[in-house]
Each structure stands twice: as C-alpha cells, then as structure tokens.
Symmetry: C2
Amino acid sequence: MTAFAARLAGVVSARGPLCVGIDPHASILAEWGLSDEASGVRELGLRVVDAAAGRIGIVKPQIAFFERHGAAGYAALEEVIAAAREAGLLVIADVKRGDVGSTVDAYGEAWLTPGSPLEADAMTAVAYQGFGSLDGVIARASEHGKGVFVLAATSNPESAEVQTLRVEDGTTIARRMVERAIATDGTAGVVVGATVDLAAVGIDPAVLARVPVLAPGFGAQGAQLSAAPETFRGALGAILPNVSRSVLGAGPDGLGAAIDAAAREVASWPR
Amino acid sequence: MTAFAARLAGVVSARGPLCVGIDPHASILAEWGLSDEASGVRELGLRVVDAAAGRIGIVKPQIAFFERHGAAGYAALEEVIAAAREAGLLVIADVKRGDVGSTVDAYGEAWLTPGSPLEADAMTAVAYQGFGSLDGVIARASEHGKGVFVLAATSNPESAEVQTLRVEDGTTIARRMVERAIATDGTAGVVVGATVDLAAVGIDPAVLARVPVLAPGFGAQGAQLSAAPETFRGALGAILPNVSRSVLGAGPDGLGAAIDAAAREVASWPR
C-alpha cells in the first residue's frame, strides 16, 4: 500500500468517505450574498472549509471557478487549500490536467509538491493522451505520498463517444483506465460519475472495488446518495461520493447541517 | 466562416502560420540566467513577446509552467498575455482544459471572455468526456470570435492507447475529433502532433486540411520543420507549426534570429 492509499484509508476510517466540493459558481455566490469576485470566492471557500472541518475528511475545490478570476482567484485558492490542509482535511484539487513530458511534470510540481503554493493532497487528471502520459505526475505523487484521480467514466451523455470505445482485448477504455490505476498500487484512483451505468461502460464492480473512486455528481447533478448502494453494488467500499451544489445550496447558515445530513446518509450505506 | 477563422486567416496571411511557444521551463530559465520564480517566468514571457512581435503572428503560452508558481505565476501570465495581445499577436492559451456543464463554461469564461484577466484569443481543450462536453466553451468562443483547439492526435507513444480506438463506423476517435471540429465552421481547430503518422491514426489529410491544426512538437521535441511538407502532405496549408525549446534555447540574445530562421523555413513550405 502506498503512502497515499494509507492516508486516504485513515481519513475514510476516521471521518467517512464523503467529499464536499468547493464550487464557487456565480449562482452559488449570489445565493450566499457574496460578490462574484476573488474576495467572494475566497470567503465561500473558507466558510466551506470551516463547516467541513471536524464533520468530514475530504474537500474538492473545483479550480475552474477560481480560475475565472485569474491570478486573484488563484490567490484565493492558495488560501483555501492551505486552510483546508491546516484543518486536517484531505484536499483533492479538481483540475483534470493532462499533458506529456515536462509539461505534465510541471502540473505535478504545481499541485503535488510539498511547499508549492498550490500544494494539495491529490489532483484529478485526464488521459486522452494515454494513461502512460501521466507517468511523470504519478511518479511525483508516489514520491510525496500524494494521489492522482484519473477520469475513467463520467456521467455526461456525450462521454460515451470516447469512454465506451474498446481496446484490443474488447475491454472498454473506461475499464482500461481503472486497470491502469490499479497497477499503481494506490497512488492513482479513478473518477467515475455518480450516475454512470457500470455495465454499460464495461466496468466490473469487483474490479472497480480495487481502487479509490472519486464519484462526483451526487445531489444537484442528479444522483441521490441513497441510490449509490445500488449503482455501485460490489464496489461501494471504494467510493468517495462528492456533493457540491446540494450542500452549498443550503447557504452559509445551513451548510453544516446539510453536510451532516449527507454524511449520515453515506454512513448508513452497507459497506 | 466564423469570426475566429477570419481572424486566424488574416494573421496567417500577414505573418505566416508559425506559432512560438512561451514555455518558461526551469531549464530554460536557467539557460537564460533567470530565476525559477514568478519574476523570472514573467521576464522570459515578456522577452519572447518582444521578439515575436513583428516577426510572427501567434504565440502559445504553456500554462503549466506558469502554474508551477501559483498565483504569482498567474499574475505573470496575465501580464504576458496582455502584452502579447497589445502587440497584435494572436494568443493560444495551452491549457488543455476539459470538463462538463457549468465547469467547462467557467473555463470559457476564464480564457475566452473579453475583459477576463486571462483573456486569450484561443485555448486548447481535451474531450475525453466526449466532444459534446465542450459545447459550452465552443459556443462561448463563437460568441466572442475566439477559438478552441481540441486534442485529436498527439506525438507521444502512449497516446495510441486512446487515440487509435475506433468508433462505430470504423473511424478512429482521433479522426472523429477532427470531423467534429470541422462541424463548428472554424471556431474549433485541432491539435495534431508534429511527428504523428496520420495514416496510423486514421486521419485523412484531405479531412485534416479543413480545420486549423495546431501542431506542437517541432524542434527540440523531435520533428524538423523541414519534414512537415512530407508529414502533413495534403494538409500543409492548415498547419500552425509550434516551436518552443528550439528557439528559446537560443537564449535572449539569439531568440529573434532563431524565430526568423524558423519563420523562413516555414515560409519555404510549398503551400
């Protein structure tokens, strides 16, 4: 077991697998009465960290919503990530980066290197250039006890165009991504959407159960947490369910209770 | 023809198709005697802009090398992009972003919206979640006369794992990306690596010729500019060849001459 796998297991054991998304979308900022500026993004992020700390173990800032505000948004992001890590939360930077050679290495330096201003505990990545294109960032992650979650199967209807394609032995590319993640011994996990039909995308739950699975799309994006035991039957113990809008939509005053409710629902899953 | 296609055609007509990469890699910074900090990244970026202005028409900052320096790196990036656009250069932000729904829309807001601190003229994108997952960002690009270059076929050996897979009608997914870009009438182009074997990845040059093709990988990464007429025979008129390390490696004093030499080589292509 790699250092990241051990750390993740510890977090899940102590605080459960629920991951709360930090998505400072314009509409959420408006609902919270915050400005759609870097200062509003920062405020929302820090409040989510405060509410998450002690209640759950994992947060996932969606970097696109920080990037909308350029360098100022990234300054806010640095503060939010640092606050989350100081509070003992495991931070997954949702960046979906992918490239090759020294460029993908640079992403590893940015997100997974101790002392980097954007240092997180894990990042999401995409392998249209082949899983092997991520070798550099996975090696760096392994070196520092960090993790990488690689897109395997996502919930959007357009995803079938790529993700259900079959490699030489008849396996789907989505399942191939899972198999390649398994081979990293716990440094890499995968991203599988909350409403994905595992059979349709060719992923055997018994295989999926062997890697950490970040599962976005619960709540506002369509899937109910109560449906997960059925959707992920056979792999439920590997799932890190992510909720974002559904808890952020409770507003700053209702956020803690909304997180508690989601965490209770997840704790009730048969594992 | 979309506004972006018209603008790109104008730039290529006036200044040629050569694109110079702004890749402030640690080793390049060292060669230039610049610090591996945001200030060094900024300095290198601004010097490349100065050297490119008047010589060529297109620059491509590789965002990973700015992101290594966090918010300070992004502040440098804002300056470099703004300086390039003020100098009349068309700026392609090499970010390879991809996501769905409001998240991918946020990337469009960040990179392709007038007035955004990171406003560029085009961005690179990746469609492991299906070409349709990029609809939001392509619509925004079209609205503002911006462009999106979607990864189709890349030069790294690991890329075959995904890019040569075949969709239902026997077409490769790489070619499907080209076809889908063609359907955007010039808002979307594609990325095809400089050493890609078009036949091996199932891309007919006559099809490729119908979209703008950003072709990285010339120079230090292996392909010679002089080999392009053979590699891209039948599609050469669509190619925007990118050189980075090979010209940056000439150092600050040799950069202008190196760009001139590359531009002359490209101008000698039979088009």
